[in-house]
Symmetry: C2
Subunit: 348 residues, 2 copies
DNA sequence: GGGCATAACTGAAACGTTTCAATTCCTGGG
DNA sequence: CCCAGGAATTGAAACGTTTCAGTTATGCCC
């Protein structure tokens, strides 16, 4: 059962009539070799279909040319707006540089840094890409302590100095508020995440900044903090609708499309029409957003760019090159659809 | 810059006062070693935090303990219902057996088997998991020709003999039809995929079988073939609504939730209510399905089971163990929600 | 008490590379 | 004609394991 073939550098050397050292030098262009020998080696390698063993190469060079990325479990009733395209973009960017992505499952229990430690100690990966970071992320702490190369998609504790790429979440919600004020809204609520969510705090901050910039005051009741689910979004919207008419918001900024969907469903249940009676803005631009009724106004994250940037930075770290920028923020883009419309009073 | 530490078997041996061979035997339990020595070695290994180098081990043993899985690009306006949970389940199942998943991007152009060849020849992976198979899949052809271990999620050419796990798509649509006939429907249409889709042909076949089993005749106009997108589903539904009243279907089985959403949107645009005027059944049970208005009746694929099964089979192949079953079909499950309801006449 | 099987352990080869240090072969200067 | 010096090439070590083939010690039988 020949699995794979297995032509080695030795056979190439024999066929080309040179030493294995010469073959290595030709293939890696790491020493001056005469044009004639070079051609002979290349020909021999091509004829035999030779490909150097990644394992042997890695052992000798002490690197695996592999990047670790952990895959997070997402419960069935939610979905993760970025995992999919993010993985694709990092895989692609890495492969262009001869690296591959090793995905591993983040177990639900136990120390989150365990799998990282294992991959690190066994020499399976040269660096990590992290996502789903949180404030005092133990994984970041661990990797920093052990001085192992990594780049995060997302921020953490402000005191920790580590390379990351993140979307400018605050700018996103600020744009959302600007968009709504431009449509004539002034009673704008926000359905936010719990305090322990770092991303949530940036998004909430953007909302507050946007309101301040527009000279609008914020009723404390307009800020509803709740978990990331459709049901939570729905309940939050119900709470907002229960406010007295003169304090009831006409527009709502949400932390995610999933929560926006919940909010819209609450509106329907109350006999209201999203985009006409109450405007809704989501965050993420999940594929579904455009097919909702009405299609959802939302903020699209530049996932592919984040992926490319993260890989570029990580490879620099791995290669020991200097990093021009350790903290990169990329702008989201507001996608305006019909779930946000003019203030009700202006329409009639 | 110490990246990772790098305690080797040699240091463990020295600390335990034995040869490196003994250490290896203890750690792999591959030779009889006295209890006393064993304890000393284990202690030394633990104190030093020793983990064997995966590269060295792989080089010597000629295996990487890695499984390749290619990641497919999905255009922004669609989403892939299975990639996400599937990857998680195979990563988890593989890790339980000491294997890891190497994900690589399937390039849009060029021979589809190229990346497989590369990983195979460089010895980076011991086997592959394929998904998104099609009828004469060149990747399957290539791997069969080169006798390299792989298991597919999905079938291909019936003539090719290779190990796969698939969902019983025909059973799924058969269940959908049964469900609809039980609700009193008899004019049941199907929005199907183009002829070149293998999965589509199984699902269509299930519909036909379901109709036949119920003793219902199928109007050729009830079978609309179109591509996998929301817009296509919408147009297909419009075409069905344009049929004369006595031939217009009261229920529609679709190939995917995405197309079901398109169909529901077409109903809304025509002033009709999905689940009341026309029943709709999707396929996949994407996370969004339950939050649609109305929530979508659909077929849930047992993705986690498929992943576990695929990994189990692949590891057997890699280890040279016999495969008890080379062709596994797993049943989908009908999730009944409100997009399917009783035949309109019965309600009023 | 000598021979012999068995248990416990070790030395060294091998896996397939890269790369250091050494060797060969030229060429040109003195 | 000899030698220095550079270009091209090679032999061999090293990367960190596993495992084959010994080697040593121990106990047992006749």
């Amino acid at each position: 059962m020949p699995r794979g073939n297995s032509v080695t550098i030795r056979e190439v050397a024999r066929r080309a009539g040179v030493s294995i050292a010469t073959v290595s030098y030709v293939l890696n262009e790491s020493a001056p070799i005469s044009e004639e020998t070079r051609a002979r080696v290349l020909a021999a390698a091509a004829e035999l279909g030779y490909r150097p063993s990644a394992l042997a190469r890695g052992l000798r060079a002490r690197q695996s040319h592999t990047i670790g990325y952990s895959w997070h479990h997402v419960p069935r009733d939610r979905w993760h707006p970025i995992l999919d395209p993010f993985l694709y973009s990092i895989a692609q960017a890495a492969e262009a540089e001869g690296y591959h992505i090793l995905t591993f499952a983040q177990p639900a229990d136990g120390d989150p840094w365990r799998p990282y430690q294992e991959l690190m100690l066994t020499g399976r990966v040269d660096g990590f890409i992290l996502s789903e970071t949180n404030r005092d992320d133990p994984r970041i702490r661990y990797l920093l302590d052990h001085n192992f190369p990594f780049v995060a998609f997302g921020r953490a504790n402000e005191e920790w100095d580590f390379p990351y790429v993140d979307v400018d979440n605050a700018a996103g919600t600020r744009m959302a508020v600007e968009h709504l004020t431009a449509l004539g809204h002034w009673r704008i609520a926000v359905i936010a995440w719990p305090e322990d969510s770092l991303t949530g705090s940036y998004r909430l901050q953007g909302y507050l900044e946007g309101m301040a910039a527009a000279g609008l005051s914020v009723d404390p009741e307009w800020i509803v903090r709740t978990e990331h689910s459709e049901a939570a979004g729905r309940q939050a919207m119900q709470a907002l609708l229960a406010l007295p008419p003169d304090r009831r918001p006409t527009a709502v900024v949400t932390m995610s499309d999933l929560m926006a969907i919940g909010a819209m469903n609450a509106l329907y249940e109350a006999g209201l029409q999203p985009g006409r009676d109450v405007s809704i803005v989501g965050f993420d631009d999940v594929p579904m957003a455009q097919y909702l009724r009405p299609p959802l106004t939302t903020l699209r994250q530049p996932i592919a760019e984040v992926g490319a940037k993260v890989v570029e930075m990580l490879l620099r770290l791995i290669r020991g090159e200097p990093l021009p920028e350790r903290r990169v923020l990329l702008m989201p883009r507001l996608i305006v659809r019909e779930s946000s419309g003019p203030h009700p009073s202006s329409g009639g």
